[in-house]
């Protein structure tokens, strides 16, 4: 019952076609949902609408039965770009949301330490944002998002700029956190492997207009082995679905041009 998306459409002013058309999804409390689809199909747009940063042209959204009318700290977002504040150091960036919420100082310090250690940035806590690498920025943003302990976490390709090892590490970390806290997570990714590794259900969006092409439940036991036979089978199944979408899109582009 947690997050209900009912017939969401979005047309940007000035654009010829709909970016999202009639998206409906019901996401249960504590579910881990991955959203995949071709680039430009509206994944970020959908996430922004759920976050309350953008409004749908049509349709309704409910969180635990309450309509979503704007952004709130019950739905923290981790953006595609890091969105850290250059006037604060790593530590203060991580504490930023907790300060807004007025958490007690000790609590802020304890949580910041916990998550900074988890993303292996404790030693860099005094660094300025421009003094750390792109991957470290993304990890700082992850720590900042997790600190708020929101029931819903919206993540927009958070690991796409990271190297393989870091990505793998953070993926398992995220899975652990999810298993511990049972947050509801909506995770946009372009990596089908990542989706199969993390998701309870995978939503494949099609392009132009963006609508739900298919929803695949992933019933593999956790932690998942990315080279196990079952894993590869599911991955293959979803990959071919996504690839059909990408090819369809490429063909349309080709036909038009």
């Amino acid at each position: 019952m947690a997050l209900e998306i009912r017939h969401i459409s979005r047309t940007f002013t000035g654009s010829r076609s709909e970016t999202l058309r009639d998206i409906s999804l019901t996401i249960e409390d504590g579910e881990f949902i991955c959203i995949v689809g071709p680039s430009g199909c509206g994944k970020s747009t959908l996430l922004n609408i759920i976050a309350g940063l953008d409004t749908a042209s049509d349709g309704e959204l409910f969180l635990n039965g309450n309509p979503i009318t704007g952004p709130g700290s019950d739905r923290v977002v981790m953006f595609q770009e890091h969105a850290l504040y250059p006037w604060l150091n790593v530590m203060d960036n991580v504490k930023f949301g907790m300060k807004l919420a007025g958490l007690p100082k000790e609590e802020q310090a304890a949580r910041a330490e916990h998550y900074l250690k988890m993303v292996q940035l404790w030693d860099f806590r005094h660094y300025k944002i421009h003094e750390i690498s792109g991957g470290m920025k993304q990890r700082t943003a992850l720590a900042r998002a997790l600190c708020l302990d929101s029931p819903v976490l919206l993540m927009d390709e958070p690991f796409s700029a990271l190297d393989k090892q870091t990505t793998n590490k953070l993926r398992s970390d995220l899975e652990h956190i999810w298993e511990e806290t049972r947050k509801t997570i909506l995770f946009v990714t372009h990596s089908v492997e990542e989706a199969v590794f993390l998701a309870d259900r995978i939503v494949v969006l099609s392009d132009n207009p963006g609508c739900v092409r298919d929803v695949f439940p992933v019933d593999l036991p956790r932690p998942r082995q990315i080279d196990s036979e079952d894993f590869l089978k599911v991955r293959h199944q979803i990959l071919s679905c996504v690839e059909r979408e990408v090819q369809k899109f490429a063909k349309e582009e080709y036909d038009r041009g």
């Binding site: 704007g70 952004p71 977002v77 953006f79 770009e81 969105a83 250059p86 807004l100 919420a101 900042r144």
Partner: protein
């Protein structure tokens, strides 16, 4: 390496100005003593300017005038920052005022500040407050436009991120928009300062109060073109010095702190 380069560049600069002054003096000497093209008092010359500076310094006029002018400029500019910030926040925060008031402010700001002198005299008389009025009106709108521009160019992602973390309206301004807009605002303030300084001179040349503008006109009254030039140089130098020491310095520090330089 870096340091060597800047020293070399500074030396280069210095040589250029020394050459310029030498040429100036040469042309002056040639024009007056050799070719007889103009009278010695018709054009300034470096030695004469130095002589005037010395005279102004010895009598103390130079320091007194500079101090009075600086005091007026700083009081006026602080007032401008206060009023300008409030106005700037209004046009930044409200779409209505942004659409309607901002064009008006931009228009008024394009008016040379000397155009406000008649108003100043009519309202305040030939008074100290008339000069202050010209300074304030000459730079306030520039401050407002600087604030508005700095706030408008804050990356939207900063604001989005804060909103999804539950920032209230007040927190959004205090914790995100103001700090993010600070470098842009300081850059704008530099320009506002130059407006304030120019406006001050417009006000001072028409008044009879101690100040650089008055000393400038006093040079005209005794037909001492070297004194006029000397005071002009001081006006340029003080304007630049304040810019360097206060605004550029602050701006540089903040940009450096954020890794932007």
């Amino acid at each position: 390496m870096q340091k060597k380069n800047t020293i070399a560049a500074k030396l280069n600069n210095l040589l250029f100005y020394i050459a310029l002054i030498l040429i100036w003096q040469g042309v002056y000497y040639w024009g007056t003593a050799i070719a007889g093209l103009w009278k010695p008092y018709a054009l300034p010359n470096p030695l004469g300017v130095v002589e005037s500076l010395k005279k102004l310094a010895v009598t103390g006029v130079l320091f007194q005038a500079t101090a009075y002018s600086l005091r007026r400029a700083l009081i006026g500019f602080l007032l401008s920052i206060l009023i300008g910030t409030v106005l700037g926040l209004v046009i930044a925060a409200s779409d209505y005022f942004n659409r309607n008031l901002k064009p008006l402010l931009t228009g008024i700001q394009s008016l040379p500040s000397v155009c406000w002198v008649p108003f100043a005299i009519l309202w305040f008389g030939l008074d100290e407050s008339a000069i202050l009025f010209v300074v304030v009106i000459g730079s306030t709108f520039s401050v407002s436009l600087a604030i508005e521009n700095a706030i408008r160019t804050v990356p939207p992602l900063y604001i989005k991120a804060a909103r999804t973390m539950g920032a209230s309206h007040l927190q959004l301004y205090r914790d995100v928009i103001f700090p993010a807009a600070l470098p842009g605002f300081l850059a704008g303030l530099k320009q506002s300062w130059s407006f304030a300084w120019r406006a001050l001179m417009s006000g001072e040349v028409m008044s009879a109060y101690v100040g650089l503008g008055y000393t400038l006109m006093a040079g005209r009254d005794i037909a001492d073109i070297n004194q006029v030039t000397a005071v002009m140089l001081i006006i340029i130098l003080v304007g630049i010095l304040i810019d360097r020491l206060v605004f550029s310095n602050l701006e540089h520090r903040i940009l450096k702190q954020r890794g932007l330089v």
